[in-house]
């Protein structure tokens, strides 16, 4: 029985809508962070009750992650450079690493919006980097209904096991 945690990052790819896939190089160590946020809500209170009378959701939650890459040459740079200040959308996948009995996993999103900015110092004690913010967008089917656009699956060479869908 393998463990169920996820460890490390071995690859992050972004496939812009209508474009070709970019596989990010030189990802800054420990820079990939999930930063989901719960939607905000408002509690309606009334004079004659102790608890909230109703809780209304006032904004939707967001799901996504941020990541930095040092890659300042080559295909990734030119792809990203064209997107600075823009917000392209596309499919994203993160592949993690295997560690002992923790399997490599793939986190995949069918539609995310990416905000591309440059950050850091062009100096002698470090490198500037691209800062990428990924936000999940709602995925709809052909009938226009919302459906899950996010899956987490172990990277297993064969066997019918484990297509553990997660999301919705």
């Amino acid at each position: 029985m393998s463990k169920t945690a996820a460890y490390g990052v071995s690859a992050v790819t972004f496939t812009p809508t209508g474009g070709s896939a970019i596989s990010f190089q030189a990802i800054v160590k420990d820079s990939l962070q999930f930063n989901d946020q719960a939607g905000s809500q408002q509690e309606i209170e009334v004079e004659d009750m102790e608890g909230p009378y109703a809780i209304l959701q006032t904004s939707a939650g967001t799901r996504g992650f941020t990541m930095d890459t040092y890659d300042m040459t080559g295909a990734v740079y030119s792809s990203l450079y064209a997107q600075i200040g823009k917000r392209p959308t596309g499919a994203v996948s993160i592949t993690t690493k295997a560690l002992d009995d923790i399997p490599a996993m793939t986190f995949a999103w069918t539609k995310m919006q990416v905000t591309v900015t440059r950050a850091g110092t062009l100096g002698k004690s470090g490198f500037p980097n691209f800062h990428l913010e990924f936000r999940e967008l709602t995925t709809t089917n052909q009938q226009g209904q919302e459906q899950s656009g996010h899956t987490v699956t172990p990277v297993e060479s064969n066997g019918g096991g484990g297509s553990g869908g997660n999301g919705g």
Partner: protein, 136 residues
């Protein structure tokens, strides 16, 4: 993973690469030992040991020492040419992006030290490896 297991994994891994580490046409073949060399052995060798293994994080980084020993020159100076050859070969084994993945842990080159005289008329260079293993 315990320190003993990690040392065994690294020693076995280097031992399997002995021909490239010590050079295939070297008349005095080197050996790989865990912790201490065997009694009566004279020649080039690599001794692998570990610093205390801590187990308080889900993914833990600990330190493995790989000490490359080369007999001193007649002038009692370090044989830096030979040390450089062997050290570079050892580093190459562990210097990929993630390091070497052995026995369920990652071993990655972290640092190399200066030639230091040892009691057995050798000089050794210490190579530290970061060993990333899991604790869950």
């Amino acid at each position: 993973m315990t320190g003993l297991e990690a040392v065994t994994a690294v020693a076995t891994y280097i031992n399997a690469a002995t021909p490239s580490v010590f050079g295939s046409n070297n008349e005095q073949k080197g050996k790989v030992f865990k912790y201490e060399k065997e009694k009566g052995y004279n020649g080039e060798y690599i001794a692998v040991n570990n610093l205390p293994f801590v187990h308080n994080n889900p993914a833990q980084v600990n330190t493995i020492n790989v000490n490359v020993h080369v007999p001193q020159l007649p002038s009692e100076q370090p044989n830096s040419k030979r040390l450089t050859e062997i050290v570079n070969e050892v580093i190459a084994l562990f210097d990929s992006e993630d390091g070497a993945y052995i026995s369920g842990a990652y071993f990655k080159y972290f640092s190399d030290g200066r030639p230091t005289p040892d009691k057995d008329s050798t000089y050794y260079v210490n190579i530290q490896l970061d060993c990333t293993s899991k604790n869950i």
